[in-house]
């Protein structure tokens, strides 16, 4: 369970260009549910998601992850928590060009120093589960949009996280691929994972598997 208390995020504090992306956000995200953060662009969705996902620290307020206060943890601890707890799916596949799909998928596990043979088996299993095992050795440039996204999903799962975070996952997908994506999300939910998605795509937030929709506007939660 993730709990946010009075979370604020201010950029360029003290400068004339100061602006607050989040104002006193209070939020509880329940486990084993699919939560959608919905709102227009500039509403602070991505900022909120990066705080929830331990990518950045709030300027003020508290963040608790499974009851543990993580607000003022140093970056190396946040990173450690992040890579074991969260899997990230970005708007763009954000794969690294020039190296193979398999290498890309294994990247998040490198700093953990796991044995290469184990890691490879894990990565191949993940790839075959999403039917792209045959692309493992090819470079990411040769993937289609859908394949690239599936590769990035496998990458998000490589360290076996129990919370999946997806930022506008369907923004660059056509309807058919978006449905495919939602099917994958459904599978996650069935496996007992917690899913948090930001989106303003009705196909996502109106989906039947979504348990809760949070509306954001101007850095605040509506309603």
């Amino acid at each position: 369970m993730i709990e946010l208390v009075n979370v604020k995020k201010v950029f360029n504090a003290g400068n004339p260009s100061e602006f607050s992306a989040l104002n006193s956000v209070n939020l509880r995200i329940a486990e084993n549910q699919v939560t959608v953060l919905k709102g227009p662009s500039g509403s602070g969705k991505t900022t909120l998601l990066s705080i929830v996902g331990c990518m950045s620290r709030p300027s003020a307020g508290r963040v608790k992850l499974q009851g543990r206060e993580i607000t003022s943890l140093p970056e190396r601890f946040l990173t450690d928590i992040r890579r074991k707890t969260f899997g990230f799916i970005f708007q763009q596949p954000n794969l690294i060009k020039g190296i193979s799909v398999l290498d890309n998928v294994m990247l998040p596990a490198y700093p953990l120093g796991e044995k290469r043979s184990h890691l490879k088996i894990k990565a191949m299993n993940g790839l075959s589960e999403l039917n792209i095992a045959n692309k493992a050795a090819s470079k990411v440039e040769w993937l289609s949009g859908g394949e690239a996204q599936r590769a990035s999903i496998v990458r998000a799962l490589i360290n076996d996280p129990h919370i999946i975070i997806a930022d506008e996952p369907t923004a660059h997908l056509d309807t058919k691929l978006s449905y495919r994506f939602m099917e994958i999300i459904e599978k996650f939910k069935a496996e007992g994972k917690t899913v948090i998605i930001t989106s303003h795509d009705p196909l996502v937030y109106e989906s039947s598997m979504v348990d809760r929709v949070v509306n954001l506007r101007d850095g605040q939660i509506e309603g």
Partner: protein, 337 residues
């Protein structure tokens, strides 16, 4: 001054090292003044990022200090032919009053930089930067020594004048200066020193093993490891060098790092430096065992440090013993010169 490529390299290393430390101290002071772990403000985030820069800088300084220590001795050795009466690095370092103080400071600041890294490692294991203030105070303490070392080193090299032929007279110049440089180093008598070395080493190792197993006597071990470091240095001068050179009179602690002795000195000194840094690290970390955020890991880390120190000292002793056994020199009676 002697414009020699190696001298230039030495001075360059000293200035770069000082520059890095000054730069690190500059940010270290900012951290000491503005650090607030509870704050999520940008200043705090910036400072936390700076800690990465400072630890990277200090690791480089540590490496640079070690390399420049050896470079320094190399330089002294290669300048030997320029000075009347100098036989090896030991003589060259005596050319003016700055040679040996620079060397001592180099060793001292190397050990301090090593301790800083030990402290830094421990601090990085705690989720609330438990040692941050102490760490940067230590850094502020180290900086003057490194800067002083740079000043002394510059003075040493800049003051040097080679004894070259002057236009008026040739040899008179030489004979006047022939006793000017003390080439040999004063040394303890070999046989008694050997007894001291072996008994002190056994005591140190036992104490280290005891601490490793029972967790008691950590401070004692830290003190002993420092003492043992000094005893080992004296021993190198007093008897270890004799066995390596297979000469009953050559007490130089520097020639052993030269090619002629297959660079054995590097191994000896590395083992010794590693042993003293990890041994002192034990003492430096012991007071923080009760810090909440470090409780879980610090005990284990300190034991590992103690073990590393014990192993390094044991390896040093084994290497020394091997050199003694395989040497063709036999010290049956004391040679007094």
């Amino acid at each position: 001054m002697i414009l020699h490529p190696t001298v230039i390299a030495n001075l360059l290393a000293a200035y770069i090292g000082s520059g890095m430390v000054l730069y690190a101290v500059f940010y270290g002071v900012q951290i000491l003044r503005h650090w607030d772990i509870q704050s999520g403000h940008e200043l705090q985030l910036v400072l936390e990022r700076k800690t990465y820069l400072i630890s990277t800088l200090l690791s480089y300084v540590f490496g640079l200090q070690l390399l420049s220590l050896f470079l320094y001795i190399f330089t002294a050795d290669s300048l030997t032919p320029l000075f009347v009466g100098a036989m090896c690095a030991a003589g060259t370092l005596n050319v003016d009053g700055f040679g040996y103080p620079t060397l001592v400071l180099k060793i001292f600041s190397f050990i301090l930089a090593g301790l800083w890294l030990v402290l830094n490692y421990a601090d990085n294991q705690g989720y609330d930067y438990p040692l941050i203030k102490k760490k940067y105070l230590l850094l502020a303490f180290i900086a003057p020594f490194i800067i002083l070392e740079t000043i002394l080193e510059s003075a040493y090299f800049l003051n040097m004048e080679a004894d070259v032929i002057t236009s008026c007279c040739g040899s008179l110049f030489s004979s006047e200066r022939v006793t000017g440089i003390g080439s040999e180093i004063a040394s303890m008598p070999a046989l008694p020193m050997m007894w001291i070395f072996y008994s002190a080493m056994s005591g140190t190792l036992l104490c280290g093993i005891f601490f490793y197993l029972k967790g008691l006597g950590g401070y004692l071990y830290a003190a002993l490891s420092l003492l043992m470091f000094l005893v080992s240095l004296v021993s190198i001068v007093s008897f270890i060098s004799l066995y390596i050179y297979e000469l009953p009179t050559h007490h130089c602690p520097f020639c052993i790092i030269m090619e002629d002795y297959s660079y054995i000195g590097y191994l000896l000194y590395m083992l010794l430096f590693g042993a003293v840094v990890s041994g002192l690290g034990v003492g430096a970390l012991l007071p923080f065992r009760q810090v909440e955020s470090l409780q879980a890991m610090l005990g284990g880390f300190i034991r590992k440090l103690a073990l590393a120190s014990v192993i390094l000292y044991a390896a040093f002793t084994a290497l020394v013993s091997y050199e003694i056994v395989s040497s063709s020199l036999v010290i049956a009676y004391e040679v007094v010169y």
